[in-house]
Subunit: 274 residues, 2 copies
Amino acid sequence: MSMSETPPRSRRRAAPEEAQQTRKEDALMVNSVEKAFRVLSAFGRQHQTLSLSQVASETGMDISSAQRFTHTLNKLGYLRKDAQTKRFELTARTLDLGYHFVRSSRLVDRAMPYLMHLSKETEETINLTVRDGTEIIFVSRFLSRNVLNTDVIIGTRMPVYCTAPGIAMLSRLPEDEAMAVIDASDLKPYTASTVWQRDALREKIRQAAAQGYATAFEEVYLSDASIAAPILDHRGQPEAAVNIAVSCSRYSREEVVSRFSSLVVATAHAVSRI
Amino acid sequence: MSMSETPPRSRRRAAPEEAQQTRKEDALMVNSVEKAFRVLSAFGRQHQTLSLSQVASETGMDISSAQRFTHTLNKLGYLRKDAQTKRFELTARTLDLGYHFVRSSRLVDRAMPYLMHLSKETEETINLTVRDGTEIIFVSRFLSRNVLNTDVIIGTRMPVYCTAPGIAMLSRLPEDEAMAVIDASDLKPYTASTVWQRDALREKIRQAAAQGYATAFEEVYLSDASIAAPILDHRGQPEAAVNIAVSCSRYSREEVVSRFSSLVVATAHAVSRI
DNA sequence: TGATGTTTTATCGCTATGAGATAATTCTTA
DNA sequence: TAAGAATTATCTCATAGCGATAAAACATCA
């Protein structure tokens, strides 16, 4: 048997057994959908525009798939292609999905008037956040005229463990569930003030549970202080949090608590449906 | 031949010729992607939650497809399913796409500091919008402490023809292109003040071209006034618009122009890359 | 309470669809 | 202007996903 003959052009796709596997596991999964989202999320601050081959390498797809999905997303209007440079970029149409979410959210509906009121009363930045696994997502936001942080926008994600809203939400979970979230997190200090050790975090969660609110001082951004309270759904589960964010330069830690704790707790309570 | 025998179970899918047709027309289109988006956009203010069969009827898909796509989107985390009621709702993860867009947009990057400055200077609501066909989309937004309109949020769409940013953008297009947008629009009056007739709109566009800014007084919402200027890209095409929105009760039409026209024009010019 | 209709979930066979290869074309750059 | 790289167009084949339907769970009403 000659070893040198060219092997028959193996028309193999992915790893056949493995594909078979996932297929068996979940016959209802439409994989193309995941790929489409994979392409869209390849874009971001680092990659404002991408060429076809970059899309392929960023997403780990072959050039043909990249071609098919960029074409599809372009047709659907989520991707624009520059005729000159042949590079792709996201379009404003990508805002549609989030728009539908905000418009369909009972939580946002309920919370909005209270958040507005809190914004006017305090003249500080007010946020509504929800939890997605080990992260919080900013869902609604009223900016203060004082500090305009454009790094945080709607859709921004931050770790649960080093944010006041995150801890506030965990504080209304059974402790083992809360610690499971902590344990699933990639714990690390963002600043010198970040509380990131397991034991310290458990203590922080307990304290938040006792007080009804949580605080975070310069844990992610220097000079940012935040105080948050959990919003509970009709069965008492924490479904969101309100927080007030202020600049450390304008208030001491004690002042943040004394001025804002009861306001934020009252707002969270008003939005809750328990 | 008996006519009463049950016809052989016709295993036909869609209309075969037609499917063949579209397939021929666009071999690169991955139709599953469109269907996934169709499911997601079935949700909204009217449909905060949907059951499986509602998804099917809302999207015009059969129950099997609805099942497959809700399952897929649930797995990917864009849809949540209530274990009790078996109803679906959008999750905050749908904000991810829009987040990626905003983060990847050079336009937003460039505009942000100027918008912030304009917001502080005027203390009024400032918007950044882009055009998508016959609509404008709100991309960035700084709310005034005076009027807090929560109907308009990031991702909101409005017709080009009855908004100041829309007319401002058209005013920097060749007139035939501008009128093509008008002609593609579903022209109708939203309020008694809406300018919606073809000729009046052409006149309005010409005036905006001459002045460098466009205005709209109570054309969509009663008591809302708006003044906008176009942002041009490096080849002089209008790629966006800035506008200042105020309450009619606080300023006369003349005051809106005299106080804000040069500010909004200057801001738009600073953001332009011509 | 059982009977009946409705909705959801699970499963299956078939084939149009989309994967992957590659050829043709266009764009770079040296 | 030739070589190389990237993009676009086109083809074939295997299977992913479509559509049907059966089974199960729920709801409704006599």
